[in-house]
């Protein structure tokens, strides 16, 4: 099944091609009133969609319909009816879906931000049920745009859809680790890590949740020590503790290191549980101050509340002034709560 490139399509209109002469093109409905936001279509688009309306009316589902819908999609990847009709034609013809997927490899990268490209792919995969090569393809797409929302969603959908296939899941943690090594601030990768470890069932070899919790705490602390001002890592830390219903005080000694200016005396002791910030780090770190205040607040006694208030004041007045109103609100609420 040769798939024409965009150039070949624009060479000749469907109206000029003898093999299409048996199809009656149908022009788009033209309103009697002034249309809102009319699009000044190209001749090629008008031509292809005229023939498409004709095909839909006749109900034809043949090889040439694949050519026609591809021509439309290349001019308007958001044309959901062309996608839908294409999909139904593929099934009706019992067409080789791996060929279709190959074409999609090209289109997905070209129209990375179009919902339909990814939706079509999901439909195909639900049929082929061969998810393994997809992981490789997704990794390549993320090479083009490492934070693309559709690409990551597709990976999460794929893994969840084939949740029982342990082989599919086996390399996932290494994959996330590689993505985070590339860019430790990639929140999509942190989110994916949460999904893999905590969000979608327990994998083989990870049944001992206490061990996994420890492993993840070590992982996130190490990453914070490399780049302390990374909100994604702090959110992950908080997420892991919340998910496992562990009190924040468990990370108190670690968090405190990041709330004060760099202390050169402290680096002599190598404490793997509490990796210290690098001496070039930009300290104190507002996310750490916020976290430490939350640790104090969880204590729910007057003395620790006052310590939290002091930290919030430093955020409001110095380290995070854009959220001044918010920190002042936290102070009011906490003081109110201790009064009662």
């Amino acid at each position: 099944m040769p798939s024409p490139t965009g150039d070949q399509i624009s060479k000749s209109l469907f109206a000029e091609r003898s093999e299409w002469s048996d199809v009656t093109p149908l022009q788009q409905y033209e309103s009697l009133v002034n249309p809102l936001a009319p699009i000044f279509y190209t001749e090629e688009y008008k031509d292809a969609t005229d023939y498409f309306r004709g095909i839909v009316k006749s109900g034809e589902k043949s090889q040439r319909v694949l050519e026609l819908t591809e021509a439309i999609i290349r001019q308007n990847p958001a044309h959901y009816s062309a996608w839908q009709y294409r999909y139904e034609t593929l099934l009706a013809l019992d067409a080789p879906l791996d060929v279709e997927l190959k074409l999609m490899d090209e289109l997905a990268v070209k129209y990375l931000k179009t919902y339909q490209v990814w939706h079509h792919r999901r439909l195909l995969l639900a049929h082929t049920r061969k998810p393994a090569p997809e992981l490789e393809f997704i990794a390549r797409s993320l090479g083009v745009d490492a934070k693309n929302y559709h690409t990551w969603s597709y990976r999460q959908w794929l893994l969840a859809y084939f949740n029982d296939e342990d082989d599919l899941w086996r390399g996932e943690l290494d994959f996330v680790d590689a993505m985070l090594t590339q860019d430790v601030r990639n929140n999509s990768a942190w989110h994916h890590r949460f999904f893999v470890v905590w969000g979608c069932g327990v994998r083989e070899g990870e049944e001992d949740r206490g061990r996994i919790l420890k492993r993840e705490l070590t992982y996130v602390k190490q990453n914070i020590s490399l780049a302390p001002n990374n909100p994604s890592a702090w959110n992950y830390l908080r997420g892991v503790l919340d998910h496992n219903q562990v009190l924040y005080s468990i990370v108190f000694p670690f968090v405190r290191l990041y709330t004060v200016p760099f202390n050169s005396e402290r680096t002599d002791i190598v404490d793997l549980e509490n990796p210290p910030p690098d001496k070039d780090a930009n300290l104190p770190c507002p996310a750490a101050i916020e976290f430490l205040a939350d640790v104090y607040e969880q204590d729910k006694n007057k003395e620790s509340t006052l310590q939290a208030v002091e930290l919030w004041m430093s955020l409001a007045n110095e380290h995070d002034t854009i959220r001044k109103k918010y920190w002042e609100h936290r102070i009011r609420e906490a003081l109110e709560a201790t009064k009662v």
């Binding site: 022009q27 788009q28 033209e30 009319p38 958001a78 999509s188 989110h191 909100p231 959110n235």
Partner: protein, 363 residues
């Protein structure tokens, strides 16, 4: 931080003419709007509404309003699965206008377009006498899926939180929730919640500002008599507020995801979610306006970020954000807007019109 710097004027006329130009026609480079034209029209008409331009009673404006209404009503179609609005006649073959044709599966009503048509017609103060209410109920029912979510068009597997919000907003405007299974929809929303405190587009997805607004607005749209629990627990509410507020960066604008750049549309999505959660007084409104001032395009319209090209989507959402977050430092009246209903995403007065005229009449 720009608390002391006076704001430049908001170029209201420029933004209005950007939207009017788009309503008049779009170049072929925007062919990808073909399958969502009605939504684009809503962002244009909505901008004019927020800017207060549709209030005038000139003969030219009366004619415009009339023909815009007519065109929108032309998009109301009826098919196998009920009635609703299609994006445009992009899949409709030419036929005599007086001939009523039943739409095919490839030209069917679209749930997002139906929501934007309701709002656009309310902005244009239509009386909704032509609305096929029972057809809409049938259509909504056909769109809800097993997992509680909604598809864009009946029978399609394309579904996410956006369509769920549209189903809720339509039910709210109709004052009729009989078409949908609210409990199932609510449990779908819950599966989209992320550890960060925001919501993703689908289950397991990363927290994102737009879908977080969608989730929060949906939960708060549910009438109290259909609610089995509070929309959020106090802990959830706190975490969501925190996450939303942290999305406001040093530029004053909001970003859509942790670690990304600020973008004008998220000033609305995050700002409106905060407003619904009762936390709007915690937002730094002056910095927000400073950012949006910089997103203004020299020749009209507002872009997603400074230096980018404008579009009606970012123009509308920026103006809607300013309607909720008026800057206190503005020394000129160009920044003043009327209040906005954050749940339906329309000017308060427009939202009231929708709720008055869209429900079936008690006869």
């Amino acid at each position: 931080m720009a608390d002391q710097t006076p704001l430049p004027a908001l170029a209201r006329l420029g933004h209005a003419s950007h939207c009017k130009r788009c309503l008049d026609g779009l170049p072929d480079s925007q062919t990808d709007i073909d399958a969502s034209r009605l939504a684009l029209a809503f962002y244009c008409i909505g901008s004019l509404d927020l800017l207060g331009i549709l209030k005038d009673a000139t003969p030219k404006l009366d004619r415009d309003r009339e023909s815009w209404r007519e065109w929108i009503w032309e998009q109301q179609t009826r098919g196998r699965c009920g009635s609703g609005f299609r994006p445009s006649p992009f899949m409709t073959a030419h036929h005599p206008p007086e001939e009523q044709i039943e739409c095919t599966d490839y030209d069917s009503p679209h749930i997002i377009m139906t929501y934007t048509a309701f709002l656009s017609l309310s902005i244009l103060r239509d009386d909704f006498s032509r609305l096929d209410r029972s057809g809409i109920i049938t259509f909504l029912r056909a769109c809800q899926r097993e997992d509680g979510s909604f598809s864009t068009v009946p029978g399609s597997a394309e579904s996410d939180l956006r369509t769920l919000y549209c189903a809720f907003a339509i039910s709210c405007m109709l004052d009729d929730w009989s078409a949908i299974d609210v409990d199932r929809a609510v449990s779908f929303i819950a599966t989209c919640r992320s550890y960060e405190g925001g919501y993703g587009q689908s289950p397991y997805c990363e927290a994102q500002g737009g879908t977080t607004y969608i989730a929060i607005a949906s939960l708060f749209l549910i009438p109290s008599e259909l609610r089995t629990s509070d929309p959020l627990t106090p802990e959830e509410r706190q975490l969501t507020i925190q996450w939303l507020l942290r999305n406001q960066d040093e530029s004053g604008g909001f970003r859509g995801r942790t670690g990304k750049e600020a973008d004008a549309c998220y000033c609305f999505w995050c700002g409106a979610a905060l407003k619904i959660l009762g936390a709007s007084d915690l937002v730094d409104a002056n910095s927000l306006a400073t950012f949006l001032a910089r997103c203004q395009f020299k020749y009209g319209g507002i872009a997603k970020a400074p230096g980018e090209h404008p579009d009606p989507y970012h123009t509308y959402l920026s103006l809607a954000a300013l309607s909720m977050y008026p800057p206190s430092v503005a020394n000129n009246s160009t920044w003043r807007f009327e209040p906005l209903d954050p749940l339906l995403n329309a000017r308060e007065e427009t939202s009231q019109w929708a709720k008055k005229y869209i429900p079936a009449r008690q006869s």
